[in-house]
Every structure is written in C-alpha cells, then in structure tokens.
C-alpha cells in the first residue's frame, strides 16, 4: 500500500480504477484488480481500512462457524502489501468529471498521526484525557493503529490540550496538520461505499440508549472482539440470560425498510453459539419472525443451534426495567398464545444494514440511481454490479444488504466486470 497522494506513485500501468470504500468489498475489488496489473486508488472516509466487518469477532466454538470475519484482516494485509494499490484514508470523493475517463478530486482530512513515524506504542491512547478522542483500529496495517477524532478531542474543542502531541516519543503527532486534496484520473470506478448500521434509537420501544443493558449486536461483536467475553454494561458481570431481538430496523414497513438485512440471523445464531460454548450455563434466546439462512449446510447448523439456543417466534413489544438490572420482555408463547413476562440480564438488538449515509451525495456526483430503499440501483437483474453509467460498478452493501461472503463475491464480480470494461480480461485476444 502506498499512503497519500498519487503524485508519488509512478504510473506503471495505463489503467487505473478508483474504488470508493475500504471495507471488505472495496478491498476485495482492489486486490483482484491489482493482481491483474491495474493500478487502484482506494478512497476511505474513516481513518482505517476494513469497514464495519473489521470490527466483527470470531464466532468459533471449537469449530469455525464460517462467519468470515477473520478474512477481513487478512484482506487488509494483502492490500497494504500490494504496491499497485494506493490508499487514501480519511478521504472522500469531492467531485467527478466524465470525459474519456473519470477525473476525480478527493478531499483529505488530516490524519494528525504520521503513519511513517508512529510505532503503535499506544501511549497517546493511554494518556488521552478525553474519552473517545483517540480511537484504536482493529487491523494491523503499515499505518497507525490509532486515530484522532476531532469531535471528542479537547484541542479541537478549545485548544486546551495537546498532551498526545507532546508525549508522543516519536513526534508522530501534529494536531495542526491541514486538510489536503488529491486529484487524478480513473478509467473506471467501483462503488463499494458500504452501509450504515440501523440506529437502534429510531425504534424507541426497546429503550436503547436508556436501558444500559440493551445493546446492539455490533456492540456485542466489538465486546467479544476486544475482551473475548460478554459483560453486562451495568455492572460488568457476565449475564446468565441473554435475549437477541431480530429484525431491529429491517423488514420494518413502518420505517419504510421493506427489506431483509440478510446478515442478522446468521450473526445472532453464531454469536449465540459462541457464547453458549464458552459458558453452557448462559441461556440464550432468539426472538424472531423468520429465521433466514446463512451459508452452506444451513439446516444442520440451525438444528445444532436449537440444541443450545431457544428460538421464540415472537417480536417482543416494549422492554421494561425489572428487578435489579434485569430487563423484562413481554411476548406470547407460540404454542398457545399465552402472554409471558420474562426477565433477561442482557438484551441484544440485531440491528440491520441500512443504506450508507453518503449514498445520496455519491449517487448525485456519479449520476447513478438509488433504489426505493436508498441502496444503489442496478439495471440488469442478472448482474447486480451494473448501474446505469458505463464504467461504474457496484460492490458489496452499497448495492444492498449482504454478508461477508456475498460482499466478497460481488466484489470479485465487480472487479471482473471492471477489468473486462478496461479490456484487461481478454488477455489472449
């Protein structure tokens, strides 16, 4: 990986592709294209590569559960070792002009931490007095594992603190670094801008943000990844009973989310399995409408889950505060419709995949259409990588909800289509 501006890179190949998004789809497209000797520019708005999926935990019991989360870090490593790929972190597409190629301008917010100097000692992270001002990434890269979030940093609030800059033994931090701009020309564009997680507060009945022991599945993923255990937020004790509520934000026609997020059943079942494997005393229940398939051998996997996990076909209404820190879920039994109030130590909301916040702006800039839900629209039902503009291709959740495997599959397809468009596939013609 080359960091920063394109001017530094000798243009070894006449073909160049701009990949918008450094999540698993964008990384996979970029990696596949680079292997075909095509130069790739990845533009990623966050300070890290890997998108959402890099935060996901391993859900293995004794056996791999095939979630694919471990593939993301590996893909990041492959990308950063690939000289044909240039990564622009904290950057966004600012404008695009179409001639024979796509002229683009990227605006680049400062990294503040010089990736060439940072040794990832973590001193800044440990010393920072403001919560959330220095964030730690999840993947090993050649850059810094840390980044500064202006929204929480005291220096950007009132200039009162520059402890990290002063303390950094490598003098790698410069809080006064200015914004930058990169421009270039790409022969094709792959839109892999990803999704945003459903904001659980938009479904207030579950009391997310009010009840501390209601957390989102993404928060649970991060907790399992960071701590390798589940702790209840209110008292940091291991919960004995956990309820997953499915379809939070998905298949919700009231919110005009008339789509299935396709990943939540899979991650809920896999996390439930992983949690019960670690501690068989923990009782996990999954409240659902319809369990959706994930991956190969689904029937056998579902049957195995049923041995450890209780599946309740009911979408609970409100959640009440129970005794101590417990939460009460109300539901009706499937057998005879009897109403039940049951306490749980922890409630996990299986939040869904929503269209990316930047979709509207990107669609406008690239002259693409969005579908009724706000994902990028395709024109050929047989090939979901093709939007209405020649030379632009779609990959991953930018086009619609997908799991890691599907995102990688579509990213490969988009790379293949882009390479074909550039005349690179037909190598024997």
């Amino acid at each position: 990986m080359k960091q920063g501006s394109k001017e530094n890179s000798p243009n070894q190949s006449p073909k160049e592709v701009l990949v918008i998004g450094g999540g698993i789809a964008g990384l996979t497209s970029a990696w596949e294209l680079a292997r075909l000797d095509i130069d790739v520019q990845i533009v990623e708005k966050s300070p890290f590569l890997g998108g959402h999926a890099i935060e996901f935990c391993c859900k293995a019991t004794d056996e791999c559960q095939k979630c694919g989360a471990c593939l993301v870090g590996k893909r990041v490593l492959e990308v950063i070792q690939e000289p044909r790929i240039t990564v622009h972190l904290r950057s966004e597409l600012k404008s695009v002009t179409r001639n024979s190629a796509y002229g683009y301008v990227l605006s680049q917010r400062p990294l503040y931490i010089n990736p060439n100097k940072c040794t990832n000692c973590g001193l800044c992270f440990d010393k920072c007095p403001a919560a959330g001002a220095i964030v730690r990434g999840y993947a090993k890269t050649d850059g810094s594992l840390f980044a500064i979030d202006e929204a929480h940093c005291l220096y950007f609030k009132d200039g009162s603190c520059r402890l990290c800059q002063d303390e950094c033994p490598e003098k790698a931090i410069d809080l006064d670094q200015g914004t930058g701009q990169v421009s270039g020309e790409a022969d094709a564009i792959i839109v892999a801008s990803g999704f945003q997680v459903f904001d659980a507060k938009a479904r207030p009945r579950y009391g997310y943000g009010i009840n501390r022991n209601v957390m989102t599945a993404l928060e649970l993923e991060r907790m399992l990844r960071d701590k390798a255990e589940v702790l209840r937020p209110s008292d940091n004790k291991a919960p004995k009973t956990i309820a997953f509520i499915q379809c939070v934000g998905s298949r919700d026609h009231q919110l005009h989310h008339g789509f299935c997020s396709q990943v939540c059943c899979g991650y809920a079942m896999r996390m439930a399995e992983a949690i019960s494997h670690r501690d068989p005393e923990v009782k996990v229940s999954i409240f659902y409408m319809d369990m959706q398939n994930c991956g190969k051998n689904f029937s056998a996997f579902y049957e195995r889950c049923k041995e450890h996990v209780r599946f309740v076909r009911f979408m609970p209404g409100d959640i009440f505060q129970g005794e101590g820190d417990q939460l009460i879920l109300c539901y009706a039994t499937e057998k005879d419709g009897r109403p039940v109030r049951e306490p749980f130590d922890l409630v996990v909301l299986s939040v869904g995949i929503m269209p990316g916040a930047s979709n509207v702006g990107l669609a406008d800039m690239l002259q693409l259409d969005l579908d009724e839900h706000g994902f990028f629209a395709f024109t050929d039902p047989m090939d979901k990588t093709t939007p209405k503009q020649n030379g632009i291709f779609l990959a991953g959740t930018a086009q619609g909800p997908k799991d890691i495997a599907d995102s990688m599959g579509q990213a490969g397809q988009a790379a293949q289509r882009a390479a074909q468009y550039l005349g690179v596939m037909a190598c024997l013609k």
Binding site: A69, L71, A228, D290, G409, Q413
Partner: protein, 565 residues
C-alpha cells in the same frame, strides 16, 4: 514476549511455467455456459463436458421476473456459434491428473477414451429438484402438483384451464415444512401464488415454516403477495395431512387465531428440495475435491469463498456449490473466470522455483506426501514432484514424510530447531513457554495482542510456522529437551485451516508428543494445543495466560532443574 525475527526468505529463484489456456467446464447448464461464454470472449479455449443432454436446459426459477429471458437466449446463441469451444455430450470424466496449468482430463464416450489437456477446471453442475410430496405423506394425484409442475401448468394455457379453470378454487402451497428451504424455493412459491391470486376465482394460501427472504427484493415481493390477497399461515411443525384420492384435508393449530384450522384445498402445491446434481459425488471423487454435508461440492471453509476448492486450479460455481438463483450462479461464474484469469494469465506464469524440496536420495516413493497434500500439488513423474504453481508451502507433506525427505525452503527443520534452541537459551521472567503459531491465525493474533492486549506472559516466546500442520513432534521435544517449561501449539479452528487438515495433524502430533512426555516423566500438562482466529488477540492473551498459570502451579520443568543442578 521476545521473538526471533521471522526467518528470512532464501530469495528463491523464479521460474517461468507454461500454462495451458484451455479450460474444462463440467456442466452444460446456464452457469456452465456463462463461464464458457466469458472464457471464450477472453480468448481461452473451452472444453465443455455437458453431460448427456447437451447445453441449455431449464433455468432455475424459469418463470421468475428476476430472470432476464433475453440474456439466456443471447447466451445460448453465443455459446452455440462460438469458435474455440468443444462440446462433449454423453461423456463422463474418468480422471484428472496433473497440476494447475497442466491437467490432463480423461473422458469416456461410449466405450472410447478421450484425453484433453486443460489448464483449469470449472465445475458448474446444475441442481436437481426433488419433490417432497412423500415427506408430507402425499401420494400422486391430478390435483397434487410439485412447484415445477405448477409452473408448467401456468406456462401451458390448456392445462391451466383444465386444472384451475371453472369457478372458484383454493390453491394451497406447502413450503419450508419438510425442509428448511431457502430464498430460491420461497421466491418460486410466492411468484406462483401471485399468479394464482391474479387469476379469476382463485385463492392462494401458503403454509410456511420460515419465510426465507434473505435475497434482494424478496421482502418486497412477499409484501406484494399479501397485498394481493395471498394468505399465509406460519407453522412451526408440518400440518396433519389426510388424503383420500383428490380429497385432501390439512389441519394445524394457528397461534394467531389461537385455534385449530382445517383447510380443504382444491389444488395442493408441494415444495421441492433443491439438491446437488446426481453426478456431484462422482465428479467430486474424480476431481479429488470435497463436498459439504449436504452433498454440494466444495467443503465449507471460508478460505474458499466464493469459488475455490481444495484442489488448486479447480473451481466450483453457483448451483454446484449451493442452492442459488441464476444471478448468483452468474456472479460465481464471473468470480471463477477471474480466478482462471489470475491462474493462467497469458499462458505463462512466473512463480518461485520451489517452496519445498524433495531429497531424492531419501525418497522411497511411499506416496505419503501425495496423499496428505491438501492442495493437490504433488504428482508423479517416476518420482514425487511438487508443483510450484499449486504448492502453498504449508509443509504438511514435509512433516508427514516418514523419511524426512522433504524440506520447505523458507522453514527448514534445521532453521526452526536452531530458532527453538536460541529462544530457549534466552533467559525470561516467569515460566518459559514456546508457542508454535500458525502464521494464518495465532501469529497474527499474537502480533495484535502486543498492541491491544499488552499483557501476554513475559516468558512467552513465539515461533512462526507456515501452518500448524508443520509442527513436528521433534520441535516440541527439542523445546522440552532444551529446558522450556511449556509448549503451546496454536492452530486455526477446525474447518478454518487454509490447508484443511493442518490443525488436525497438529492436534494428533501434540497428543503423540504428550504421551512421549508422560513416558519420560514430564507432565503432559506442559504441552497445550489450542485453536484461535487471527482476529482475536485477547483470546491469545487468555490462552497463554492460562498456560502461564498452569506452569506456575507445576513449577519449573525437571529438565531445566536438572540442568541447573
């Protein structure tokens, strides 16, 4: 956590290898043809083993709005008239020998044998649909149809009038109650139900287990069907079905109505299971590739996402690997084409001359390496030869070779043993442990643990191995002989090994070494096997700390104490 720098690569010399640019495609259905058309457009040659009936056939969800019929017609036309394609009908593949870039495929065609040289193989067998009527306890009758039969009825106006015409009729669908099913099954049922509902006088009702909607646009279709008046009953168990010829009654408890419901449909539509192709098992055996628990090709291992198989140069697409829509099959086809392009390129490939070396004097041609190689990289040419294209450098062959005739270029036994001795001679705080870490999982986790975890045991030393399957019993014993207090072998989780069985071999060897320790009077507990993922640094810290605690309880190793005395 001291560590000796990773052993430097030997600067292996590179070699240019010619690659055959004809590709064998097995399966003449829509996915196979898609692969063929793409490869032909790239200038590759294609041998299409189409099975008995030739190319084409019924597309999955043939009446589905999501299928672009025109695209199918165009595809069929382009494959039929293409140069550079040889279509073999009524042939069966007998063997595939050789290595990626240079396979020889042998076919049988009505008693004759044919041979073709191919660089890669793409398996695109279609699925088969199997009626579940029997599972529901239903026997054939004129008003009991499978989903496919219903689609045919709808396609033929005459039959439709005969079966569904003449006044009001109730049509009942059974879906996802005798199988888990999936979106492909669900989509067909919903589409047919909408067709029924739109016809005059017909009422469609669907009895369903889980409504499978995890596919683009299916929730919208499901909502549409309900708005059009299709009725749904969601059941947890199959209903009680009584059949007396054409009279069928279906009874179940409905938990919305809180009571028993009895339905007497005029027409009953039974779901079909989507199973792997009847020849999948034979093809897998001939190609030496694995199948999953449901019989589809390709083992369930994330490192094969989306179309790779356990044999390098053999790819599996769409319906050959799982029940998938036509569009998903084509997505796979394009991924496989990309893999082929990466593998065969313009007909030559530059690769490191060798990742592993066979000592000809020691080799007794016992075939062990050939059998254990998980990548199909070893072949025979009067002696064992390792294909530099297919070899992944996992080292399983080297560790399993009974004559110690194989050495990896970058991980030679003497280098690793030196590293072990060097590490064990370093003095550390606390119990001294050597962890053999698979570079694909534990090693990555260990690296991350340094940054995020901080507090891995001080006495922990790491030896990176290409795969846990390369950890020899000798390595473990060398470490103990040199006086370390404990040894960990850290592998990938079961089913997550890039070399499939590397973790299993490692576990066996640890067990074997443990028994040897016990016999020699050392505590077996000093040796630990664990599995871990690359993205779980804290898990690495937990495992190693648990080991440290255990070793603290056991005290220093007797060998170390003996040496000190």
């Amino acid at each position: 956590m001291p560590e000796v720098e990773a052993l430097s690569a030997q600067g292996a010399s590179m070699e240019e290898i010619p690659m055959e640019t004809t590709v064998l495609i097995i399966g003449g259905g829509w996915s196979g043809m898609k692969v063929a058309a793409e490869l032909i457009s790239m200038g590759y040659g294609v041998v299409l083993a189409a099975g008995g009936t030739g190319i084409g056939g019924e597309p999955p969800g043939d009446h589905s709005a999501s299928v672009n019929q025109k695209a199918l017609t165009t595809l069929l036309g382009s494959v039929k008239k293409a140069d550079g394609i040889e279509i073999l009908t009524s042939t069966s593949l007998v063997s595939l020998t050789g290595v990626p870039g240079s396979f020889r495929a042998r076919f049988e065609q009505s008693g004759e044998f044919l041979e073709r040289d191919v660089g890669a193989v793409v398996v695109a067998l279609e699925t088969q649909r199997v009626s579940l009527a029997e599972a529901y306890g239903l026997s054939e009758d004129e008003n009991i149809l499978t989903q496919s039969q219903l689609e045919h009825v709808f396609a033929s106006g005459e039959e439709k009038d005969r079966l569904l015409g003449g006044g009001s009729k109730d049509v009942l669908f059974l879906v996802g109650l005798q199988q888990e099913g999936g979106p492909v099954v669900m989509e067909r049922a919903i589409e047919s139900a909408i067709n029924i509902q739109e016809a005059e006088g017909l009422q469609a009702t669907i009895l369903v287990g889980n409504v499978k909607l995890a596919q683009h646009g299916l929730e919208t279709l499901y909502k549409q069907s309900r708005e059009k008046g299709v009725l749904y009953f969601k059941l947890r168990e199959p209903p009680h079905i009584k059949q007396n010829g054409v009279d069928v009654s279906i009874e179940f408890f409905d938990n919305v109505l809180h009571g028993p419901v009895v339905l007497r449909p005029d027409v009953l539509v039974v779901e079909e299971a989507i199973r792997s192709h009847p020849q999948a098992s034979d093809v897998a055996q001939v190609l030496g590739i694995d199948r999953d628990a449901e019989g589809f090709l390709q083992s369930d291992n994330v490192h094969f996402f989306p179309t790779r198989s356990n044999r390098e140069g053999v790819y599996v697409v769409g319906p050959a690997r799982l029940s998938s829509s036509l569009a998903e099959g084509w997505k796979d086809a394009q991924n496989a084409v990309l893999e082929v392009r990466q593998l065969l390129g313009k007909g030559k490939r530059v690769v490191p001359r060798e990742k592993a070396k066979i000592h000809r004097g020691k080799c007794t041609i016992c075939l062990t390496c050939f059998r254990v190689c998980p990548h199909g990289a070893i072949y025979w040419d009067n002696r064992a030869v390792i294909s530099p294209v297919a070899c992944q450098g996992c080292g399983i062959c080297a560790s399993e070779c009974p004559m110690d005739a194989i050495q990896l270029v970058d991980f030679r036994d003497d280098q690793i043993e030196d590293q072990i001795l060097q590490l064990s001679a370093t003095s550390v705080d606390g119990p001294q442990m050597i962890a053999f870490c698979c570079q694909n999982s534990a090693y990555e986790a260990a690296q991350m643990a340094r940054v995020v975890g901080g507090s891995a045991p001080k006495g922990l030393q790491i030896v990176k191995v290409p795969c846990a399957g390369k950890v020899d019993v000798d390595y473990i014993l060398t470490a103990f002989k040199a006086g370390v207090d404990g040894v960990l072998v850290l592998a990938c989780h079961k089913d997550n090994c890039k070399s499939q069985q590397g973790n299993t071999f490692a576990e066996w060897r640890v067990e074997h070494a443990g028994n040897m320790l016990e016999e020699s009077g050392l505590e077996k507990e000093r040796l630990c096997f664990a599995t871990i993922a690359s993205n779980m640094p804290m898990e690495f810290v937990r495992i190693t700390k648990e080991m440290e605690d255990k070793l603290n309880q056991l005290g220093p190793s007797r060998i170390k104490r003996g040496a000190a005395a």
